[in-house]
C-alpha cells in the first residue's frame, strides 16, 4: 500500500518534471521558459520529495522532506520574479506573438519607475 502510493507520487512528479523540460525546449521566450521551469519543476521535485518522505515512514525524514518542500515553495517564485525583472530591464526580447506590454515605457535606464513617486516610508 505504501509502495503503491509512493509509486504513483513518483510517476506524477516525474511527469511534471518532464513537462517542464519539454517546456524549456519548446517555448520561444525567456519569460515563458521561466514559467515552465520554475513552477512545473518545483511541483515535480516537491512531489518526488513527498514520495520519499512517505516511503521512509520515519519522523526525521518526513520532517526534513517537509522543510525541503516548504523551502522550495517559498524560494522558487522569488527566484523566478528576480530573473524576470532583471531580464526585462536588460532588454531580453519578448515573443513576437505577445499581446501587450503594460510595462513598456515605465522604466528609466536604472530600473526605477518613471513616475518618480517617492514611496511612503
Amino acid at each position: 500500500m505504501i509502495e503503491l502510493i509512493t509509486g504513483v507520487l513518483i510517476l506524477i512528479g516525474s511527469f511534471f518534471s518532464l513537462v517542464a523540460g519539454i517546456g524549456l525546449f519548446r517555448l520561444p521566450d525567456v519569460y515563458l521558459r521561466m514559467h515552465a521551469a520554475t513552477k512545473a519543476g518545483t511541483l515535480g521535485s516537491g512531489l518526488m520529495l513527498l514520495a520519499a518522505g512517505f516511503h521512509s515512514q520515519e519522523l526525521e525524514t518526513i520532517a526534513w522532506v517537509l522543510m525541503g518542500i516548504i523551502f522550495l515553495t517559498m524560494t522558487a517564485p522569488i527566484g523566478a520574479h528576480l530573473l524576470g525583472r532583471a531580464g526585462y530591464l536588460a532588454g531580453v526580447p519578448m515573443w513576437s506573438r505577445t499581446k501587450g506590454d503594460a510595462l513598456a515605457g515605465k522604466y528609466d535606464s536604472q530600473g526605477e519607475f518613471l513616475d518618480g513617486y517617492q514611496s511612503r516610508k
Binding site: 513537462v19 517555448l27 520554475t38 526585462y88 506590454d101 503594460a102 514611496s119
Partner: protein, 156 residues
C-alpha cells in the same frame, strides 16, 4: 495569536485541574478551551477568532489552484501549435502592507501561467506576465476575487 496562546493556557489549566498532563488530556483541555472561547467570542475578539480557519482556507485554495493550473500549463506546453498569447498586464492593488503584497506576488508566481514582474513604486499596481491571456480585465478580476480577497481576509 493572543487567542491561540490563551487557548493553550486554558489547556494547561485544565491539565492542572484534573491532575494529569498526558497529551490526550491536554488535547481535551484545548478543545474545551476552544469551546469556551467560542462561547464568549463576541466579548473577546471577534475578528481574530476565525483567522486560523481563513488562513487554512487560503492554503487550501492555493493548493487546489496549483493542481488545476499545472494541468493547464502541461496541456499548453505539450500542444503541437502553441496557441497561447502571453502578455504583461497591470493589475491595480488593494493591499497596502509590504508583507501582503509579497505574499500575493509569491502566490501569483507559484500558480502556473502567471509571473509577477514588478510592483510600481507607489505600490498601487502589480505587473504580471501571464502565459495565456484572452482578456486582461478578466484575468485581473480573477486574481482580485481569488487571491487578493483571501489574503485580505486572512491577514487583516
Amino acid at each position: 495569536m493572543n487567542l491561540f496562546l490563551l487557548n493553550l493556557v486554558l489547556a494547561l489549566v485544565w491539565g492542572a485541574v484534573t491532575g494529569s498532563f498526558a497529551p490526550a488530556n491536554l488535547l481535551f483541555g484545548f478543545v474545551l478551551g476552544f469551546f469556551s472561547l467560542w462561547l464568549v467570542r463576541d466579548r473577546v475578539d471577534r475578528r481574530n477568532f476565525y483567522r486560523p480557519a481563513r488562513i487554512v482556507r487560503l492554503i487550501w485554495v492555493f493548493l487546489k489552484e496549483l493542481c488545476l493550473s499545472s494541468y493547464r500549463v502541461a496541456r499548453d506546453t505539450l500542444s503541437p501549435q502553441m496557441s497561447f498569447r502571453p502578455a504583461i498586464i497591470a493589475m491595480p492593488l488593494d493591499l497596502k502592507k509590504d508583507a501582503e503584497i509579497t505574499l500575493l506576488a509569491n502566490l501569483i508566481s507559484l500558480t502556473p501561467g502567471t509571473l509577477s514582474v514588478d510592483v510600481s513604486s507607489d505600490k498601487s499596481t502589480l505587473y504580471i506576465h501571464a502565459m495565456d491571456v484572452d482578456d486582461p480585465a478578466e484575468m485581473c478580476r480573477e486574481i482580485k476575487e481569488g487571491f487578493e480577497h483571501l489574503i485580505k481576509d486572512a491577514l487583516e
